[in-house]
C-alpha cells in the first residue's frame, strides 16, 4: 500500500486510529449491554464503518456542524462526544445527553455542533442544508457535514435538499455511507444508479466515490470537500463505500445478507487495514497499539459503569423540555 497523500501528522493519524477503535469497542459494549437488557429502545451499530465517520469528522473544525442518522454512534464518537453520556442515553438514563428522552437514535450535543442523530431516514439532509444556510445568513465560515445511508438517497429529501444546497452554493458536505444494504433491501434492488455519487451530476456538484474503509482516503476527500464548502464554492457529495458487520439493529436481527458477502467485507476491516498502514509507516509499535487499546478499553469500561449506575429519570421529567 502506498503512503497516503495526507497532511496528517503521525499523532493525528494515531488519533484517527484511536477514534476508530473507540467506536468499535463502544458498539461491542452496546451489543453486550443489549444482551443484558440495559439498552432501552433500538440501537443500530456502526461496526465495520468506522473509517467513514472518523475520516470525515477529522476534516472538520470545532465549530462546524454535523447531522447524523439512526446509525449515529460512530459520528458522535468521531466528533468527540463523551462516551459516558452517550451510553447513558442509550440506557435511557437521566445523565444521558438527552436525559433519556432521545435514546440511541437521537443523541445530540448541540454545544459541539452535533445537531442530532435522526430516526427518519433522510430526515437530516434538509436540516444540514438549513444549518448551512444559517451559517451563510450569519456570515460565518462554518461548514456542515451531513451523514446518511445509501437507503436515504431515494428519499425526496435527498433530492430537494441537495438541489437547494447546490443552487445556493451552501457550505455542506453530503456524506453518503453506502453500506450496500438498507434494512433488508440491497442497493441494486432499490436504487436505479450504479453509484450514489453519480447522482451529484444531477445537481452540478462534485461527486466522489471513496473506499470508505480507508480512513485516509476518506479524510483526504473530506478535506477537499470541506475546503470547497468553506470557500463558498458549494456542496460536494462523497460516497463512502463500506459495510456494516452486524444485522440492521438490535431489534432487527433477521439478516438477509449472504454470509459470504459479510465475510468478504469483514476481511476488509477498516481498523485492521489502518493498523497495517500505520505499522508500515513505523507509526505504531506493538506497545503503542497495546497502550491505545488499553486506554480505549478503560474508557468503555468507565462508560458502562457510569451508564449502569446512573439514575433513571424522574417520571415528572417526561413533561419538561417540550417548549423553550
Amino acid at each position: 500500500m502506498a503512503t497516503p497523500d495526507t497532511n496528517l501528522s503521525t499523532d493525528q493519524q494515531l488519533e484517527l486510529y484511536r477514534s476508530m477503535l473507540l467506536i468499535r469497542e463502544f458498539e461491542q459494549a452496546v451489543l453486550a449491554s443489549h444482551e443484558k437488557r440495559l439498552v432501552q429502545g433500538p440501537a443500530h451499530t456502526y461496526i465495520g464503518m468506522e473509517a467513514s465517520a472518523v475520516g470525515i469528522c477529522s476534516a472538520l473544525l470545532d465549530d462546524d456542524y454535523l447531522t447524523s442518522t439512526h446509525r449515529g454512534h460512530g459520528h458522535c464518537i468521531a466528533r468527540g462526544l463523551d462516551v459516558k453520556r452517550m451510553l447513558a442515553e442509550i440506557f435511557g438514563r437521566a445523565t444521558g445527553y438527552c436525559k433519556g428522552k432521545g435514546g440511541s437514535m437521537h443523541i445530540a450535543d448541540v454545544s459541539r455542533g452535533m445537531l442530532g442523530a435522526d430516526g427518519i431516514v433522510g430526515g437530516g439532509i434538509p436540516i444540514a442544508t438549513g444549518a448551512a444556510l444559517g451559517c451563510r445568513v450569519r456570515q460565518s465560515s462554518q461548514v456542515v457535514a451531513c451523514f446518511f445511508g445509501e437507503g436515504a438517497t431515494n428519499q425526496g429529501s435527498f433530492h430537494e435538499a441537495i438541489n437547494l444546497a447546490a443552487i445556493r452554493k451552501l457550505p455542506v458536505v453530503f456524506v453518503c455511507e453506502n453500506n450496500h444494504w438498507a434494512l433488508s433491501a440491497g442497493f441494486e434492488v432499490t436504487t436505479a444508479v450504479a453509484n450514489v455519487a453519480d447522482r451529484a451530476a444531477a445537481y452540478s456538484i462534485p461527486g466522489h466515490i471513496v473506499d470508505g474503509n480507508d480512513v485516509l482516503a476518506v479524510h483526504t476527500t473530506a478535506v477537499e470537500a470541506v475546503q470547497r464548502a468553506r470557500a463558498g464554492d458549494g456542496p460536494s457529495l462523497i460516497e463512502n463505500k463500506t459495510y456494516r458487520w452486524e444485522p440492521h439493529s438490535v431489534f432487527n436481527t433477521k439478516d438477509p445478507r449472504p454470509p459470504d458477502e459479510v465475510a468478504e467485507w469483514k476481511a476488509r476491516d477498516p481498523i485492521a487495514r489502518f493498523r497495517k498502514v500505520l505499522e508500515e509507516q513505523d507509526a505504531l509499535s506493538a506497545d503503542q497499539d497495546a497502550a491505545i487499546q488499553k486506554a480505549v478499553a478503560a474508557l468503555i469500561e468507565e462508560a458502562v459503569e457510569f451508564a449502569t449506575n446512573s439514575p433513571e429519570p424522574e417520571p415528572a421529567e417526561a413533561m419538561a423540555d417540550i417548549y423553550a
Partner: protein, 325 residues
C-alpha cells in the same frame, strides 16, 4: 372452539386470502417481500405470489403512497405498508390531497381502492419519531376511512373488508398487539364498515377506547368491577365512518363517559367523541366527560418516561373514579 392465532397472523391470513381471491390485490412497501415485513405481516407472500405482486420498494414513502393511488386508479387494489405510523407524515400530500380527494375532485369519476397499513409502535422505547398515533389527523380528512382493529378477529375481518372497500382506507395496527392471541374462525368473514364492538356491557359508565387502548380499558373495567362498578366498554373499530349511535345510546344509559385514546391529547380522537356526545347527549351526562390520552408531549425513550406519557390502566381507573364522583 375456534382456533387461536396472533394479531399479525390474522393480518397475514387476510392478505393471503385476498391475494388468492383477487389477482388485482398486491402489496407494496419497505422490507415487505424478502423480509416479510418488519412485523411479519406480509410473511410468505413473496413465495406465494411472486415479485410482481409483492414488492420491496426504495425508502420513498411519498412515492409508495402515490404509487398506491395511481395503481388504484388504474384498476388494481394495492395494499401499501408504512413501517411506522410516523412515516406517513412524509406521504401526507399523497394521502390527503390525492388519495382522499381524487374521487370528489373528479366529480365521482375516480375510485381509489387503496389500503394504507401502518403500525403504531408506542410502548417499546422507540422514541418521538416512531411512536405516534395519528388517527385523529386521518379522521379529520374527508374522503378517508380510518380503521383500528384491537383483536386478531377484528384485524382479519376488517383488513379483508378494507381491501374490498372502494375507498382509501388508513388501517392502523399496533406494535404491541402483533403478538397477542385471539380466536379467529377458519373460514372467511368480513366485518362491517362502519361497525363498532360492545366489548363489555355495563350500566354505570361508558368507556370508549380505540386500538390497543381497548385492552387497557378492559383491564381497568375488570379492576373497578371488583368493587361492583359496571363498566360498558365500546371499541369503535372504524373511527371513520363512526358508529355514533352505539356510543350515544350507551351514554344515554350510563350518563358517564370516559374516552381512552393513545394519541396526544389536544385535537386528538378523544376530543371528537367528546364533542359528539356534548352535542347529541349532553342532557344525559351526569358528570363531566373524561379524556384519558397520551400527554401533549413527544414520546420519550426511557421506560419510566414513556410509561408516564402513555395512558395506562391506572389512568383509566382514575378517570372512571372521577366520573363516578
Amino acid at each position: 372452539m375456534a382456533r387461536t392465532i396472533t394479531y399479525s397472523e390474522a393480518l397475514n391470513e387476510a392478505l393471503h386470502e385476498e391475494m388468492q381471491r383477487d389477482a388485482n390485490v398486491f402489496v407494496l412497501g419497505e422490507d415487505i417481500a424478502v423480509l416479510g415485513g418488519l412485523f411479519q405481516v406480509t410473511k410468505d407472500l413473496l413465495d406465494k405470489y411472486g415479485p410482481e405482486r409483492v414488492i420491496d420498494t426504495p425508502i420513498s414513502e411519498a412515492a409508495i403512497a402515490g404509487a398506491g393511488v395511481g395503481a388504484a386508479l388504474a384498476g388494481t387494489r394495492p395494499v401499501i405498508e408504512f413501517q411506522f405510523n410516523d412515516f406517513m407524515t412524509i406521504a401526507m400530500d399523497q394521502i390527503v390531497n390525492h388519495a382522499a380527494k381524487l374521487r370528489y375532485m373528479t366529480g365521482g369519476q375516480a375510485a381509489v381502492p387503496l389500503v394504507m397499513r401502518a403500525a403504531i409502535c408506542s410502548g417499546i422505547g422507540m422514541g418521538a419519531q416512531h411512536s405516534q398515533s395519528l388517527e385523529a389527523w386521518f379522521a379529520h380528512v374527508p374522503g378517508l376511512i380510518v380503521i383500528m382493529p384491537s383483536t386478531p378477529y377484528a384485524a382479519k375481518g376488517l383488513l379483508k373488508a378494507a381491501i374490498r372497500n372502494p375507498n382509501p382506507v388508513v388501517f392502523l395496527e399496533s406494535r404491541l398487539l402483533y403478538a397477542i392471541k385471539g380466536e379467529v374462525p377458519e373460514g372467511e368473514y368480513l366485518l362491517d364498515i362502519p361497525g363498532s364492538v360492545m366489548v363489555r356491557e355495563g350500566g354505570d359508565v361508558t368507556v370508549v377506547a380505540t386500538g390497543r387502548m381497548v385492552s387497557v380499558a378492559t383491564s381497568a373495567a375488570e379492576e373497578v368491577g371488583r368493587d361492583g362498578t359496571e363498566v360498558e366498554v365500546i371499541d369503535p373499530q372504524t373511527l371513520k365512518p363512526l358508529d355514533t349511535a352505539t356510543i350515544i345510546e350507551s351514554v344515554k344509559k350510563t350518563g358517564r363517559l370516559v374516552i381512552v385514546n393513545e394519541g396526544s391529547r389536544t385535537c386528538g380522537y378523544a376530543a371528537e367523541i367528546a364533542a359528539i356526545v356534548s352535542e347529541q347527549a349532553l342532557d344525559f351526562l351526569d358528570a363531566p366527560i373524561e379524556r384519558v390520552t397520551a400527554g401533549d408531549v413527544p414520546m420519550p425513550v426511557a421506560k419510566v418516561l414513556e410509561r408516564a406519557v402513555l395512558p395506562g390502566r391506572d389512568d383509566v381507573v382514575g378517570a372512571i373514579g372521577r366520573v363516578l364522583g
